[in-house]
């Protein structure tokens, strides 16, 4: 392990750190430029630049050490990432009981099903060096999908409390009363991924393809592989968005089919009367 670390801190790493210093210098110049217009981001920029560099160096070290690690280690790392993603997504619906577990299960299901399918079909090898970066991309997109779906679902339901309660008052099942809002929440969560797919290769050449080409793979194969990754991101996002809203739907109603979700400012159930 030490030998591996020593190998890494070679010429490459020194050059890389020098280049990173250049990148930081450019960011610092932009921060000063912002200051000229009284936009003060020095502190935040310094902290996030430092954090970003340290995090990426650490990830690099972990990958270097675990380069040929087993599937189990890879799965463990992805599980931790899923946990972190769930904490981030759950922040969107603070105050709702069980939000963290709701986000964890929906992200785990979306990313898990897709990664398992990729491993099973051989489009993803189980080495940590491959599993973790690809897995992290899928988890990150599932996280965004989860956050967008639950946030949109909450916004739609709280904007339509009257319609939902009118439907409940006519004897509708809770699921029926929020069906249109579930649909639009899942759609809204998929939209960024659909746009991503459409702009693939036109507006942006994503990292996986760029990396593969840089490291000598055939550009055509790299392009096809990148398409597969984005398609898998889309699939994982769909599963996550669906599961997150369906799980949330259960939580916004009581056992007696009463709507529990209210606009934040209304702490009483009805207009004063």
């Amino acid at each position: 392990m030490l030998a591996e670390l020593r190998d890494m801190i070679g010429h490459d790493v020194m050059v890389g750190l020098a280049q990173a210093a250049g990148a930081i210098a450019l960011c610092a110049a932009v921060v000063l430029l912002c200051r000229w217009q009284a936009v003060r981001v020095e502190r935040e920029a310094a902290v996030s630049l430092l954090r970003g560099l340290v995090q990426m160096v650490l990830v690099g070290i972990v990958l270097a050490v675990l380069l040929n690690g087993s599937l189990l280690i890879g799965a463990l790392i992805l599980l931790l990432m899923t946990g972190a993603a769930a904490v981030t997504a759950a922040g969107r619906i603070k105050g709702m009981g069980g939000a963290l577990m709701l986000c964890f299960w929906s992200i785990a299901a979306g990313a898990g099903i897709v990664l398992a399918a990729m491993l099973a079909t051989g489009s993803l090898r189980s080495q940590v060096a491959m599993l973790v970066p690809v897995g992290s991309m899928i988890i990150a997109n599932a996280m965004n999908s989860c956050a967008q779906a639950i946030e949109r679902f909450r916004a739609e339901v709280t904007a339509h409390v009257g319609q939902v309660e009118a439907a409940l008052s006519l004897g509708a099942e809770p699921a029926v009363t929020v069906a249109p809002y579930l649909r639009s929440a899942v759609y809204a969560s998929l939209l960024p991924r659909l746009d991503m797919m459409k702009s693939l290769g036109l507006v942006w050449i994503p990292g996986v393809m760029a990396g593969m080409v840089v490291s000598g793979a055939s550009p055509v194969y790299a392009g096809i592989y990148q398409f597969i990754i984005v398609a898998m991101i889309l699939a994982a996002s769909g599963i996550t968005g669906l599961i997150a809203t369906v799980l949330m739907r259960r939580r916004v109603f009581s056992a007696a089919a009463q709507l529990l979700l209210r606009p934040a400012e209304a702490d009483k159930p009805a207009p004063a009367g």
């Binding site: 006519l170 004897g171 007696a256 009483k268 009805a270």
Partner: protein, 251 residues
């Protein structure tokens, strides 16, 4: 109509009830609240309200803003959960009735119509559809005629005036053939000129169908025109209930 008992086939009872000329009566709709209370945080919205309301009776609920009138009404179809106490529907504790069935039997018309996107006919058929029944077009037409909206079946709800929308909301609730009708300020969103028309419409239908009716209103004149008895509420409590004229003139 088939020979199925109305309790097992509420839709069957509902279909017959769409025809005002039918003399057949719905089952009695007596309603009783027992120490009914609802509290959120430290705030008592409804506090220990016990009343008995007879079948076919029209009762108004009056009181200042924030007195808990709407909160009380929302407990009656269990749109909100009582913190303590309960409601008896025909002497049966309403917590033993499935909420969907309870809300079919205890219909509610809100202050705002809250129609669903689509046609007027789709809105009218919404309640029966929840029980897997398709309300025949003739029944929809008859209901719309009854609320003064003949020929409106295929209109999009986006093209309705406020008064028309409120009539559709009333017809939509009636399509469920409820035993009890809860009205939450049903005319407060309407122009003054339309109020009397809607009041007379509601009175006529409630009498025809022998429905038990509870109407929340901030308008004392409306309570006098519509209700035999009136409940006066203040700070979530029932101050008094009695003949409308007595309650209003004592207050």
């Amino acid at each position: 109509m088939t020979t199925t008992a109305p309790s097992k086939d509420p839709g069957g009872a509902g279909l017959s009830a769409q025809f005002p000329e039918r003399s057949e009566r719905l089952p009695p709709g007596a309603l009783e609240t027992r120490h009914l209370s609802r509290q959120i945080g430290g705030r008592r919205l409804v506090s220990d309200v016990s009343v008995q309301i007879g079948r076919g009776e029209i009762v108004a609920v009056v009181g200042p803003s924030g007195a808990g009138k709407s909160s009380f009404l929302r407990l009656l179809n269990r749109l909100d959960e009582p913190t303590s106490g309960t409601v008896l529907l025909q002497s049966i504790d309403y917590r033993t009735i499935a909420p969907q069935e309870l809300r079919r039997r205890v219909g509610m018309v809100m202050q705002t119509a809250y129609l669903f996107p689509g046609t007027v006919a789709a809105n009218i058929g919404f309640g029966p559809r929840q029980r897997g029944q398709v309300l025949p077009h003739d029944n929809i037409v008859a209901l719309l005629e009854r609320v003064g909206l003949a020929g409106f079946a295929d209109r999009d709800i986006g093209h309705l005036s406020g008064g028309e929308a409120q009539r559709v909301a009333l017809a939509r609730t009636l399509a469920n053939a409820p035993e009890v009708l809860l009205l939450d300020e049903p005319t407060s969103a309407l122009d003054e000129a339309l109020v009397r028309g809607i009041e007379e419409l509601i009175l006529g239908i409630v009498r025809e169908r022998q429905m038990t009716c509870i109407i929340v209103t901030h308008n004392r004149a409306q309570a006098e025109r519509m209700a035999g008895r009136t409940m006066l509420m203040e700070a979530g409590r029932l101050v008094t209930i009695g003949p409308t004229a007595e309650v209003l003139h004592a207050g």
